[in-house]
């Protein structure tokens, strides 16, 4: 059941209840779309990258026959030859990772205040300005406006200085 230059389609084998043979590459369904994976043991992060997603915002879930699902951690290696593996789906995380001054922090997805974000690094809007790197250089974030967190956002802080004179 090899096709497309030695690809083994793991979904087809799972549907037939067959063991997955060794192959040069594996045809793997992620979110319903087929991708060529050229290793038997990809990590969760590698599979997410295949669909241009990152573990700071998304999690990967392995789908098996008989409606069994397992979350795959980013560094966890998956055996694509394990029996019953149908493929993978991705889901937006509720608790995502953001980066503040290059360090990762966990935060709930959705509308967050600047104060909540600064609190992650023990700072407050009274003493620090928050800057977000989004399609360009770090730009200031107004302390009075909510920040929509999707995951993977990059922030910097800088001591607050000055005022109207």
């Amino acid at each position: 059941m090899e096709s497309r230059e030695g690809e083994v389609d793991i979904f087809e084998h799972s549907q037939r209840g067959q063991d997955v043979p060794d192959g040069l590459a594996y045809r793997v369904r992620i979110d319903g779309e087929g991708f060529r994976i050229e290793t038997r043991h990809p990590t969760g992060e590698q599979l997410l990258q295949t669909v241009h997603k990152r573990p700071c915002a998304f999690e990967l879930i392995a789908e098996f026959v008989h409606h069994k699902n397992d979350v795959v951690e980013p560094k966890e290696q998956v055996d694509l030859r394990q029996k019953g593996l149908k493929g993978f789906i991705t889901a937006h995380r509720e608790i995502v990772t953001i980066f503040i001054n290059s360090d990762p922090y966990q935060i709930e997805r959705g509308q967050r205040t600047v104060a909540e974000i600064l609190a992650k690094v023990g700072q407050s809007p009274e003493g620090y300005d928050l800057f977000e790197e989004k399609n360009g250089p770090p730009m200031p974030v107004s302390p009075d406006r909510p920040v929509h967190i999707h995951g993977c956002e990059i922030f910097h802080t800088q001591p607050r200085s000055g005022g109207s004179s």
């Binding site: 300005d129 800057f131 360009g136 250089p137 770090p138 730009m139 200031p140 974030v141 107004s142 302390p143 009075d144 406006r145 800088q158 001591p159 607050r160 200085s161 000055g162 005022g163 109207s164 004179s165």
Partner: protein, 117 residues
């Protein structure tokens, strides 16, 4: 006074072109098409950064090529000031930090655009 090349390099992501201008013994950095914070209108305009203290008493100043619409009211006390052959606008804002790094100075002035007071 010339600024270190690496500090000039740090300004480049914020604008299309950086060039040094001098007038009256002072050095200004012309920031062509400077990006402004999201809440500002327009999103881009030319800027003129004076990183050092000047005759106005401020330790630094960021001039804009036009009066920018900001989320909070500001005292625009510099209107059509003629500097380096162009007209510039600035609002009253005094930095209090001691940073001398150009990108730090620029970021403080940009942050002032979005702060309430």
């Amino acid at each position: 006074m010339a600024y270190p090349a690496e500090q000039i390099e740090e300004l480049r992501p914020y604008c299309k072109k950086v060039s040094a201008l001098t007038e009256g013994g002072g050095v200004f950095l012309h920031l062509e098409e400077l990006r402004l914070p999201e809440e500002c209108e327009p999103a881009v305009c030319d800027g003129l950064l004076r990183p050092l203290a000047g005759p106005d008493g401020y330790p630094s100043q960021l001039y804009f090529s036009r009066q920018v619409k900001l989320p909070y009211g500001r005292n625009w006390n510099v209107i059509n000031a003629r500097i380096c052959e162009k007209n510039w606008f600035a609002f009253s804002w005094k930095r209090t930090s001691g940073t001398s790094r150009l990108v730090g100075i620029l970021r403080e002035h940009l942050a002032a655009l979005t702060q309430k007071s």
